[in-house]
């Protein structure tokens, strides 16, 4: 996994709440190859049935073409556990997803794909939405090392992230490698408690 570095970018505003993973990537694309997966990001909201761009959808605005930060409404990523939602988002170029609350499985999936999920306070999220409404080209800087989000006009907040996940992201570490380093603990657990019932046929 690539290490996560400081991001400075315009911000895609998606204030709608409860955006689900079926919207982020419709299930019919789950069998497609990963190559160019960014095109399925919000596919049915970006494209009409003939493949034409739908006017009025935020991702179709040229200013967000290279955006790396998404500011979403609460409970973004709810519904299905499909990691394809993060594949599509990451392949589109988004590296930070911020919202007052992110759905659990989506939140966990972000970390596995070098995408930083940030849960902001309601008040900072709405302040930032408001500021960006007045300045849609305004850039936001996200510093994982210092755990800060800085918006236009010096609007700043500190965000929480646990040290384990932070280090994994910053160093591009793979969780499996870290866990295999704890193999002795896993073996001790299995000896102490006994393994789960085995299904052999």
């Amino acid at each position: 996994m690539n290490p996560f570095e400081r991001v400075r970018s315009v911000v895609i505003p998606m204030p709608q709440t409860d955006i689900n993973t079926d919207e982020i990537v419709p299930a019919r694309f789950m069998s497609r190859a990963r190559a160019d997966y960014g095109r399925y990001f919000f596919h049915d909201r970006r494209f009409d049935s003939d493949g034409g761009l739908r006017a009025g959808f935020v991702l179709n605005e040229p200013r967000y073409e290279n955006a790396q930060i998404l500011l979403a409404g609460t409970n973004f990523g709810c519904g299905s556990s499909r990691e394809h939602a993060v594949f599509a988002l990451a392949d589109f170029g988004v590296r930070v997803v911020m919202a007052p609350q992110l759905a659990d499985i989506f939140h966990a999936n972000c970390f596995k794909n070098a995408v930083l999920p940030i849960e902001l306070s309601e008040s900072f999220a709405s302040q930032l939405q408001e500021t960006l409404r007045g300045d849609p080209g305004g850039e936001v800087e996200v510093d994982l090392e210092g755990q800060t989000v800085t918006g236009p006009g010096g609007l700043t907040c500190w965000f929480e992230i646990d040290a384990f996940r932070k280090r994994n992201l910053l160093c591009g570490l793979d969780e499996i490698d870290r866990t295999l380093g704890l193999l002795a603990d896993i073996e001790r657990f299995e000896v102490r408690r006994g393994p789960a019932p085995e299904i052999l046929e």
Partner: protein, 465 residues
């Protein structure tokens, strides 16, 4: 320090028994007892393990079966819709065989939807940690197991290490008060809860359902309730094992036997929240006030009792967008809305009791709209056929399919047409869930059957005897 003696919730007891290691940042390495592999995993999961020369750490803890891409039209691989999707079914079997993982193939009478088959085979047992790369793994909580959905990378992690890194969830106690009325099912209670707290109302929490209403439910009903926990955003749903759980498990293929059965039953029956255990939050639902529910919008919280009207108090943009998609108007009645098709099945409502309820409405009548009935597993299918339920459906002009997820996620070739209004016993009425432009109304199986017979949304209680 007497942590072991402080009162604990059922969830805390299962969690504490599975912690392998912790980090200072608050991440816990949790041991996974049972892992289900299904056919919709990105192929990269297997490729990544192979590329790193990682083997499945404990093959007998994993059980594999295809469900998302299987056809409901036939019992062979050739029936899968196309080569792209067939490859997912083939690679699941190949990886299972290569790694010594038990696999219930298409045509095996045990094959079906993971969340129907796991409990049915007693592959899931009380007190276990259970995962699958599928959000409806919350279903397994009905047996008093901590079951939760995970992403594809996490599936790879479980295969390689038999563990997962987790943040410890909060706990929520949900109580249903008063006896549910005539014709009100677990599906309706779950939807009433989701309407009350919202689709993100339980995010970050494990819900424990308790109280007389819940303990009065059959295992099938408990599975429906726990299944829908994820639709409130919950990490999992849980119900403490009781005599009903034990009766359900006894004699099932992978249940323990003999002295081991006795020993485990004793353990299971001790698995419950201590009387003075505290939960991070508590929600009370007035069960006596719940009616058979129908969703009118594009997420499961946008629902109402069948005799209610769609809310009309100045709809927000978001609700207006949902109503526009659904082709409905704020303030209009739900009863009488004409429907185009009906689907009965899924991990939410594809069990034998669900089919019995639907058949009791259909018996001796004809469907007015295209209807597909898909049992949740091969064993549910054969049980239904033994009881003659299949004939009730087919004589009504309905299609009786082979087991699988089918029109719940609509990626196996079964899907409705754009603009069509489909009444469905599934779990998600999201935009495009049953095919692009399809308008889904989620209901209980009796309501779905009545919609098929009348060709419109009706209060099925007048057809229920």
């Amino acid at each position: 320090m007497s942590v072991a003696h402080s009162p604990r919730t059922l969830f805390a007891k299962i969690w504490d028994a599975h912690v392998v290691a912790t980090t200072e940042g608050g991440q816990f390495l949790i041991y996974i007892d049972r892992h289900y592999l299904s056919d919709d995993l990105p192929q990269a999961v297997y490729a990544n393990l192979a590329a790193r020369d990682l083997k499945i750490r404990r093959p007998p803890a994993t059980v594999a079966m295809p469900d998302h891409y299987v056809s409901t039209k036939g019992k062979s691989l050739a029936d899968v819709a196309d080569d792209e999707r067939r490859e997912f079914v083939i690679s699941l079997e190949r990886e299972a065989k290569r790694n010594g993982v038990v696999h219930f193939a298409i045509g095996d009478p045990r094959q079906g939807i993971v969340h129907v088959v796991g409990p049915e085979q007693a592959l899931t047992l009380p007190g276990m940690t259970v995962v699958c790369g599928d959000s409806h793994t919350s279903t397994h909580g009905a047996l008093g197991a901590f079951g939760f959905g995970i992403g594809a990378t996490e599936v790879g992690h479980v295969l390689a290490t038999q563990t997962l890194w987790q943040t410890r969830p909060l706990t929520m106690q949900v109580g249903f008060h008063g006896a549910p009325g005539f014709g009100v099912t677990a599906k309706d209670l779950a939807l009433a809860l989701i309407r009350q707290i919202g689709v993100g109302g339980a995010t970050g929490h494990v819900i424990e359902y308790s109280g007389a209403t819940v303990y009065g439910m059959s295992m099938e009903a408990r599975m429906t309730l726990c299944n829908l926990s994820i639709e409130a955003g919950a990490r999992a749903g849980l119900i403490a094992p009781d005599a009903t759980t034990v009766r359900y498990l006894k004699g099932r293929p992978y249940a323990p036997t003999g002295a081991e059965w006795d020993r485990q039953v004793e353990e299971w029956l001790r698995l419950k929240s201590d009387l003075d255990a505290s939960f991070d939050s508590r929600v009370d639902v007035d069960a006596a006030a719940v009616e058979p529910m129908v969703s009118w919008g594009t997420n499961p919280s946008q629902c109402a009792g069948i005799t209610e009207r769609i809310p009309d108090a100045s709809p927000s943009d978001q609700i207006q967008r949902a109503l526009t998609y659904m082709g409905l108007e704020a303030g209009s009645a739900l009863e009488g809305i004409p429907v185009d098709s009906v689907f009965i099945g899924s991990c939410t409502n594809g069990r034998i009791e669900d089919l019995r309820l639907a058949a009791s409405i259909v018996k001796g009548r004809r469907a007015r709209v295209e209807t597909l009935v898909v049992p949740g597993s091969g064993l549910v299918k054969s049980q239904a056929e033994t009881e003659g339920l299949d004939r009730i459906f087919t004589e009504a002009g309905m299609r009786w399919g082979e087991p699988g997820c089918s029109m719940c996620i609509a990626i196996n070739g079964d899907q409705a047409r754009p603009g069509e209004r489909c009444v469905s016993t599934t779990n998600r009425n999201f935009v495009g869930r049953q095919g692009p432009g399809v308008r889904t109304h989620i209901v209980n199986p009796g309501m779905a059957a009545a919609a098929a017979i009348h060709g419109r949304l009706v209060d099925y209680r007048s057809d229920l005897r």
